[in-house]
Subunit: 318 residues, 2 copies
């Protein structure tokens, strides 16, 4: 089977297992949990876990609980982040806090986290290695999100600050997805760590690309609200470079955006293209994909599916 067919097969299997993850329990929890976990999404993280397990000679069955756990952890962060960012659309459907209310969304996230922990805890031979990774991942995404919110109110956020923030908020969990798949194959620690780094660079590429797609796609395609991000003062790769290049112009455009969103956005888009920032951004994405691939090129593992995944991410925007 080609990588693309394996990927589809895995995605279907993951989706089915996620829908059935919490059949019992109070309806006000079970319904939104099922709603979130059947809501689509690319399933990048669990597929990366399964691919890394395969690449290291492991098997799908041993890797699946951890794969589901990282996907649930990821969705837990989305449910809570959507409350904080007041986003009303995610993956083309209403967010939990907007369909129900904030209280339901907070609890839904919390309960999802316990389901993810249960999955990690169930495979006794791997529990010890995987639990520490998972708990550290949880703290990392909280810290990344905390910095993301702190930066909204800060005028001077450097590119280093930004990179550190996205490494915690996005890269850490994608790195964890790769590493936790490798651990399920019981392979050497140094290979696990290389795969973690592969995931982290992939995560950087993914987040910077997200920043780009958000400002250059319409909100339907991205499935979430660009407007709220810009109005909140969200710091993205492009906006940080733009603010460093010419703070006055950008502040002026943001001022226009507050009054007339469409015309302000058009001005910002033009500026980003003409100033070369768009080109820099695409280069940065490609650079990180290359860095990711470099981590695994020298490894004696079956890396074809992983390289396929790298290309899939690289081409996402085009």
């Amino acid at each position: 089977m080609g990588t693309s067919s394996i990927l589809d097969k895995y995605r279907q299997e993951i989706n089915q297992l996620l829908v059935d993850i919490y059949p019992e329990g109070p309806r006000s929890l079970a319904k939104p949990i099922q709603y979130v976990l059947s809501g689509g999404g690319k399933r990048l993280r669990p597929i990366l876990t399964l691919f890394c397990a395969n690449a290291c000679g492991g098997n799908k069955e041993n890797a699946m609980p951890a794969a589901l756990a990282v996907e649930i952890l990821h969705n837990f962060t989305l449910v809570h982040d959507d409350i904080m960012d007041r986003d009303i659309i995610r993956h083309g459907q209403q967010t939990v806090h907007s369909k129900w209310d904030d209280g339901v969304a907070i609890l839904t996230g919390d309960a999802m986290l316990s389901l993810a922990l249960k999955l990690i805890n169930q495979t006794s031979s791997l529990r010890e290695k995987q639990m520490s990774l998972f708990i550290d991942g949880l703290l990392a995404v909280c810290e990344g999100q905390a910095l993301d919110k702190e930066y909204e109110d800060q005028l001077n956020v450097s590119l280093d600050d930004y990179m550190n923030m996205i490494d915690l908020k996005t890269g850490y969990l994608i790195g964890l997805s790769a590493q936790i798949g490798a651990t399920s194959a019981n392979i050497d620690l140094d290979i696990c760590l290389k795969l973690r780094n592969y995931g982290r660079f992939l995560g950087r590429a993914f987040q910077i690309q997200d920043d780009y797609l958000e400002i250059f796609s319409n909100s339907k395609e991205m499935g979430k609200s660009l407007k709220s991000d810009i109005l909140l003062g969200k710091k993205t790769f492009l906006m940080i470079i733009a603010l460093e290049k010419d703070r006055k112009i950008i502040e002026n455009y943001l001022h226009i955006i507050n009054k007339d969103f469409a015309s302000g956005l058009a001005k910002i888009r033009d500026y980003l293209k003409e100033s070369g920032i768009v080109e820099d951004t695409i280069n940065e994405v490609n650079k990180n994909i290359e860095l990711a691939n470099k981590q695994i090129n020298s490894l004696d593992i079956k890396k074809n599916d992983l390289l396929y995944l790298s290309e899939l991410i690289r081409k996402r925007g085009s």
Copy 2:
């Protein structure tokens, strides 16, 4: 040293360890975490953990990580519950969402949970036993809180429903605190389970007493808002019996409370006293304390400190 002095000593030690639990990290997380964990509270749960460890021949050092973890888990639920209930005061100080905002409070809770998990995960010899208990406890408190919120909008909540809800929301975690202390002493499983049941009955007594104290103390003493609970339609032991006894009168008083809180509350208090519901409530608290003590009376453990704790809880209201 007498039990009362040991208790004070433990409480001080717990408080000190909690304040220092997360010195690094983004300020928007570190500050509210320290604020919550230095905010007072009786420390009933971690003290119960340490007392159970001692009672079973264990020691404080081995039990302390789990003791801190249950207290942090408990505080995590308070931070998130306070958002859902829109409570602005807790332990005599502003709640996190009211001092900062909802986003900070959501993240603070999430990060606290990861700190609690880290503590459980750090003691390698006990990790396996304690982690499962802890994860189940997390799901139980989520489910209990979910039911509590669901019941706010339901007219007919039976006493059985209520008991099931408080067993999940309050009893489960107090039972866990006891059990996890016993496991740290490596004692037989049946003793661990008896201590869990001891904790669960104690938890029932505690919650029913809380329901009583909330309606009969002023909000300063309880440190949280009675008004919000009544207006939200929170189901308590007393209100469920009252609604079963005479729905029309109570609904009339709740109607008055919406217009004139003080006079409506006075009417409800009078009714609860005159109808014998207050007496029933105090009897129910005592019954559960007795049931708790019965669990441990036949055990060959050092139970003095635990019986002291039972009495302390029994006398809390008087």
